[in-house]
Amino acid sequence: MSKRAQFASLAHVTAALPDEHQDVQALALELCERLSARDFEGANALILAEAAVDFGPAGICGSFSEEGAKFFRDLIAAFPDLRLTVHSVVADSETAVIEMTVKGTQGADFLGIHNQGKHIDVDQAWVVTASHGRITGIRAYWCQTQLYRRLGVKRLDQISITG
């Protein structure tokens, strides 16, 4: 079994982190906690406005202020019971890679997908970089096909048509 740090709960995360990695790991984990708490302003405060965000599967790439903030706001609005469950973290002094499952029940349209009240559970990995106590980059990996399948989308060129 992997010795990678496993987190069933984030309650003891700070104590579990090596000191030299605490900044970026702690920031990345706090971001997940704040998103799970649907605390947009709290998440926003952790990230530099000019941070580079790449949510490639959603076709969103640019600065946090121009692209990322809207994505987080829409995510929180679309899934009222949003939950990010972190499974593991791999980190060095500048970068943390977080494996997680994002779960929730759709309550509003999201990324052009009509709301049918369906549930998602999509495994993801986020590469988070930080400097001087703020997040400077987020690059996210997940399979958009899985998201579409769970939300009833049948064709990649007809996202708004669900079945």
Partner: protein, 153 residues
């Protein structure tokens, strides 16, 4: 006592992608522990009664998926863009995988198109410098679209 840096872990992972680049699946498997777990999160086939996932052992499920990709994309290659590792044998690698389709791949018939797909792999390398866990994240929707298949399933 300070933990010794596990410099070999990143080297093992680089060797894994070197072998993948030369389509040496046996070498890829040799770099893994016999019981190494393999998970490809995008791999998911929904049947009427059950869902088949890309979750099993590296030397069974992993080997089948890697061999299938290489067969369908004879010029399959990869480019490692970033590796991070810690002192416990954990390694995360960002890798761009690309290729040109020559044969059907899963439910995607060949139109001779090419794809390029960013992947994130998370490995654990054990004390014997063998990979004992691989998790892979990528976006199949992008790959399917690039190959000309617009059906989700």
């Amino acid at each position: 006592m300070t933990a010794m840096p596990r410099v070999n872990a990143a080297e093992v992972v680089n060797s894994f992608f070197d072998a993948y680049r030369t389509h040496d699946v046996e070498r890829m498997v040799d770099l893994c522990d016999e019981m190494a777990r393999f998970r490809s999160f995008p791999f998911e086939v929904w049947r009427k009664q059950r869902v088949i996932r890309g979750d099993g052992k590296a030397n069974t499920v992993g080997k089948i998926l890697w061999s299938g990709l290489i067969e369908s994309f004879p010029d399959l290659t990869n480019r490692v863009t970033k590796i991070i590792s810690d002192n416990d044998g954990n390694v995360a690698a960002e890798v761009v995988i690309s290729g040109t389709q020559a044969k059907p791949w899963s439910s995607v018939g060949s139109q001779g198109r090419s794809f390029q797909s960013p992947h994130l792999f998370v490995f654990h390398v054990n004390d014997e410098d063998k990979i004992d866990s691989i998790s892979s994240y990528s976006d199949n929707a992008s790959v399917r679209a690039q190959l000309g298949c617009l059906d989700v399933d």
